[in-house]
Amino acid sequence: MRYVDEFRDPALARALIREIEALAARMERGRDRPFAIMEVCGGHTHAIFRYGLEGLLPDIIEFVHGPGCPVCVLPMGRVDDCVAIAERPEAIFATFGDAIRVPGSRKSLLTAKAEGADVRTVYSPLDALALARRNPEREVVFFGLGFETTMPSTALTVLRAAREGIENFSIFCNHITIIPTLRALLQTQELGIDGFIGPGHVSMVIGTEPYRFIAEEFGKPMVVSGFEPIDLLQSLLMVLRQLDDGRARIENQYARVVPEAGNERAMAAVAEVYETRPAFEWRGLGSIEHSGVRLREAYARFDAERRFAVPEISIADPDACRCGEVLTGKLKPWGCPMFGTTCTPETPLGALMVSSEGSCAAYFQYGGMRQAKLEGAA
């Protein structure tokens, strides 16, 4: 496939790895711990594991898997709200496939579906809108979640519904924004991150300018990256070169998709439909100010939270779960007593085990257990 195959070339990957090795060998002097590089986006986490990149790189580099999996950071209480809406007899609850198995305090959407709720998996919010057109007697609710990558798609769908005068369509909005989240993360005292691999598809929407504070206020380099193995290796090399030179800049490896200015029309749709919430609750991270959005008053009729009474109960994560520490990179998944024992992709306790973009699921699926064993033996 064009624009994909070129970025999976094994010969190029080998050349990049050798280049990284040579640079790392030079940098090793004087360092008493590995460089911790956080990939913010869950899509990157998935790619790093899928291609086994961690095992190919010198020990001096350690990936820290960031909070960028929107399914994983959704608190249990919000899942309970979804289930409450889905169980209304008039509702058709439409969701992306990776959210259907996230556990709530009582059940997941999948369990609700098995018990008779009309829960449908869709590829696009446009498909949820089509469901509303075809079922005028039902209430179609779309589970809107994701960072800025997905936000324009739900905003544009709301605008489309408004234009067409569709009355039986609404969004249960759980969208979150990346910048306040990164700032909160950077303000964490114990955060030992040396540099960042920036989210490619969030950046195609917001551009690269909003990240400047990471370099200017916190002195950390960031390279916005594509999702193929060559993209990730090249981005890593660019981060290491900055660290080697003592520079901190925002660079863009993924310029074929990410314009520096982002996408103006996508941002305009987001600004038209959404406003910032005072705070939003994250699983494992607690409440982060201004990190979530909701529909503006002008689009209240498309807001499932206003149309249906939802319980809105805050539910604490299970005591034994260490999701928060894994999310902030303080703990590797295998350091959690539940990992791979009571918490597995088949029966997840924590959300990081649910989505293929979650770091626990990635460790479980792609051999993180092996590393745990090696580490245990050492």
Partner: protein, 98 residues
């Protein structure tokens, strides 16, 4: 969910509704092209363009020149590597130790 995939716009479904048909590895579907529509000029100008498709929306026009530029940088790394490999294979002396 945050992943997208490159596809090529092969036809316009509805100019007014800003919908076009995209071909992703032989699979076709209708996508919203509001975010990549030409500022002035007909939607038909998009036919043949490569776009990044995410949850039914064309979110970015893929910049062919930028893709070529990235690949060129990568190819240079590959070439330098091959060159060094060739020198090594030719039985070059090890660099003097300091």
């Amino acid at each position: 969910m945050c992943l997208g995939i490159p596809g090529r716009i092969v036809g316009i479904v509805d100019e007014e509704a800003m919908l076009a048909t995209v071909d992703v590895s032989g699979v076709r579907r209708s996508v919203d092209v509001v975010c990549v529509a030409p500022p002035d000029g007909p939607l038909a100008d998009l036919v043949g363009a490569w776009v990044l498709v995410h949850v039914g929306f064309a979110m970015s026009l893929i910049d062919e020149e930028e893709a070529a530029a990235t690949l060129k940088v990568l190819a240079e790394i590959g070439e330098a590597d091959a060159e060094i490999e060739a020198i090594r294979a030719s039985g070059a002396e090890a660099a003097p130790a300091h």
